[in-house]
């Protein structure tokens, strides 16, 4: 039954939009990247081992820590009846692009950053910024911190979605009456049941952690940089001879990512075994208060850091010269809003146009397919998994293949090419929201309409669409913020000629100009936040008098 669903025109169109360019890009990447000479030059690059090592180290540690924190956050929130509040705490940070959080965190943690300004000179005695290597440290700690901050939020949402499939509240009540505290109850009774469901998002987090440049540029180690940043420098090098090296390098990146996924899969099975063994040991720890407090404190510090980075972006963007221990820039030196506006207006317009087009085209592609898959959970899962696959491949690897193909087709650097690349990354999230929401609508509403003599299309417009309206608003906002955040797809499909807030911010951060980076990062931060705020206020205003309309 579901096999035939996948071949429905609407569903295969949706899948094709995502899979055809990804596959073609991967094949092209293999074709052009498999060059023994270039590979030899990649391997002979001084410091290459350290680069690859720090990519793997930062990506793997950040993923592990984020997974642990996300489980703790959701587990503790579930027992404390504040799961809804957790979601609203997490969403603003989730909506924030990696690049913006990365730039913001660099502004907070740097020796002359907001954090030390808060403590200086009264607590630290510093009148001058200390000579510390906090940001861009060789150990990659600040990069790990940034990744953990973002990916914990992502995994919290993934866990919350997976929770819908498990009678978690009842299971947790059951383990509480058996004498287990909320933490152990969660880890032993619920976490193992969720692991299977979040393995795709988890793999995506791992691959992103290892291969990202968005956070590694502002926060990652400098000498040598992470492997992905090294490749990014090669790609953006004016000397075309270096490009072959970058092509070959993306394949090395692919190999390491696949290996990391395989190892993580093994570790996941091991972890599951440990959790199950601990579930059967009967050990109870009634007093978890100390542990809970410690993790609660940890989560609050993390959230405060995130909030502080957003504030720091705003301050840095408007501040002129900003002498060290003063917390706020003096008003004399403010850059006027006009300056920022004139600097970012054109870029902002392109960013908005791309985001809007991505959201609208994406929803137009997803809705008809969701319509066809509404009765089959299996089909919805399969489509979801297919759409998710591009997130499991290092962006650089297939994007460079896509770019080569676009050049051959002579459509590189066009709006449509960039839009298409953004769709690839927005579709899995749109599907994740809209397909279940469509399926959750009681089919009897439409049957009632049909028995009243209303045609199917009118029924869709007058019954189904209004019931989906809130989910559509959320989906719009999500697609919007995904598109705004995309850096590498814009860079590659745009052939460097399409300038968005992300490309400008990354370029500025890459050249060390944090002030210019902050000016663009404001756009990166404000657009998604505004989109989500609009979606929520809009969603709350819709059908305010109707309690039965799904939220």
């Amino acid at each position: 039954m579901h096999r035939s669903l996948l071949t429905r025109p609407t569903v295969s169109l949706l899948l094709g939009v995502s899979i055809v360019p990804t596959t073609a890009g991967l094949i092209a990447a293999l074709w052009f990247g498999l060059d023994a000479g270039a590979l030899a030059r990649v391997i002979a690059t001084p410091g290459i081992g350290l680069s690859i090592g720090s990519s793997l180290w930062t990506g793997c540690i950040a993923t592990a820590v984020a997974l642990l924190l996300a489980h703790l956050a959701v587990g503790l929130a579930a027992s404390g009846n504040w799961r809804r509040r957790l979601n609203s705490l997490v969403l603003p940070l989730l909506a924030m692009p990696h690049l913006a959080i990365g730039i913001g965190l660099a502004l907070v943690l740097a020796p002359s950053g907001v954090l030390l300004r808060l403590l200086s000179p009264w607590a630290t005695g510093f009148e001058l910024p200390p000579d510390w290597l906090i940001v861009n440290d060789t150990g990659g700690i600040s990069l790990i911190a940034g990744l953990v901050l973002k990916e914990t939020c992502f995994l919290v949402i993934a866990l919350a979605a997976a929770l819908a499939q498990v009678p978690a509240e009842k299971l947790q009540a059951q383990s509480a009456t058996l004498g287990y505290g909320p933490l152990k109850g969660w880890l032993a009774a619920i976490a193992p049941a969720l692991q299977q469901q979040i393995r795709l998002p988890l793999a995506a987090v791992l691959v992103f952690g290892i291969t990202n440049v968005e956070m590694a540029i502002p926060l990652g180690p400098g000498l040598p940089p992470t492997f992905s940043v090294l490749l990014w420098r090669w790609f953006t090098d004016p000397d075309p001879a270096i490009h072959a090296q970058a092509y070959a390098g993306t394949l090395v990146l692919l190999v390491f990512s696949v290996a990391a996924i395989a190892v993580a899969g093994g570790l996941g099975r091991l972890g599951r075994k440990c959790l199950i063994a601990s579930a059967q040991s009967g050990q109870r720890r009634a007093a978890e208060t100390a542990v809970r407090r410690a993790f609660g404190g940890f989560l609050i510090v993390g959230w405060a850091l995130g909030a502080l980075s957003i504030i720091a972006i705003g301050l840095r963007a408007i501040a002129g010269p900003w002498r060290f221990p003063t917390l706020l820039p003096t008003s004399r030196s403010f850059t006027t809003l006009q300056d920022i506006a004139s600097l970012t207006a054109g870029v902002g317009a392109t960013t908005l146009a791309l985001a809007g087009a991505t959201a609208l085209v994406g929803i137009a592609l997803v809705l008809p397919a969701a319509e066809h898959c509404r009765q089959s959970v299996t089909a919805r899962r399969q489509v979801g998994a297919w759409l998710f696959l591009p997130l499991l491949v290092p962006q650089m690897t297939f994007l460079f293949g896509v770019q080569v193909l676009l050049v051959r087709l002579d459509i590189d650097g066009t709006f449509v090419a960039v839009l298409w690349s953004h769709l690839i990354f927005a579709l899995p999230y749109l599907w994740g929201i809209l397909a279940p929401a469509r399926a959750a609508i009681d089919p009897r509403y439409e049957q009632v309409a049909a028995t009243l003599g209303v045609t199917r299309s009118v029924t869709w417009l007058t019954v189904t669409a209004p019931l989906l309206a809130r989910s559509m608003l959320l989906a719009l906002a999500l697609a919007f913020s995904v598109s705004v955040a995309l850096y590498l797809p814009t860079l590659f499909a745009g052939a460097g000629r399409v300038a968005t807030a992300a490309t400008e911010a990354a370029a500025a951060a890459g050249s060390g100009n944090l002030r210019l980076a902050a000016a663009h990062a404001i756009l990166l931060a404000v657009i998604p936040l505004a989109a989500f705020a609009a979606a929520f206020t809009g969603g709350a205003a819709l059908f305010r008098q109707r309690r039965g309309v799904p939220r």
Binding site: A176, L178, P182, A193, R272
Partner: protein
């Protein structure tokens, strides 16, 4: 064994009381039945006793185990065993794993497994330890859930219509098993039901929850 004592217990949803203030003493080894129409707050009463009441219900009153006041304790420290309407076996653990989850800590792994196997045998589930709980019949699942609760060594047993989803045949057998275990262990037992045959089989005092005037 101590009696489970309820003093002036009331539950309110948005300021309307579900039932008149309840005073109740559940004696060890006796099965006290609580009956009342659906929506009268029977299940919520048990959740209140366990400390797992959802936040939209306000509760007042005292719960004591002998002289010990339970009201201020977190759910995991109260040691009241609750059997839910559904068996709620953990889907990622096998049958023995579910039993072991309930069993108090202590003893070597091998020893614990032997105890779990013996317990399964004692309720007629010999050799089913490695099975996926989802492959068991309703009656078998109910028995596993009972073992899980009993091996946690509760001080009282709370039954939230645990026989409801069973067919007549299983219903009687599981019910007899549960009551027999409760009596043998001298557990104060509180049964919530709206089935008269449950009340008759329990044979203990009956409390009817009445809407407060």
């Amino acid at each position: 064994m101590n009696a489970l004592v309820l003093e002036q217990v009331t539950l309110r949803i948005s300021d309307s009381a579900l039932f008149a203030p309840l005073n109740l003493r559940v004696e060890p080894g006796a099965v006290t039945s609580v009956v009342g129409p659906s929506g009268s707050g029977k299940s919520s009463l048990l959740k209140f006793l366990c400390g797992i009441l959802p936040p939209d219900i306000d509760a007042a009153g005292k719960v004591r185990m002998g002289e010990e006041d339970l009201s201020a304790l977190p759910p995991q420290s109260r040691r009241l065993g609750l059997l839910f309407q559904d068996p709620l076996l953990f889907p990622h653990l096998d049958v023995a794993g579910n039993v072991l989850f309930g069993m108090r800590a202590g003893g070597a792994r091998r020893e614990r497994q032997q105890r779990a196997a013996d317990a399964l045998t004692s309720v007629g589930l010999e050799g089913l330890g490695r099975r996926d709980p989802a492959t068991l019949s309703g009656g078998q699942q109910a028995r596993v859930a009972l073992l899980r609760v009993l091996l946690a060594e509760p001080r009282a047993l709370l039954l939230d219509e645990p026989f409801r989803s069973l067919d007549d045949d299983n219903r009687e057998r599981v019910r007899e098993l549960v009551f027999a275990q409760a009596r043998r262990r001298g557990l104060p037992t509180l049964l919530v039901t709206h089935d008269q045959s449950d009340v008759d089989a329990a044979g203990g005092p009956v409390v009817e929850l009445q809407a407060s005037a």
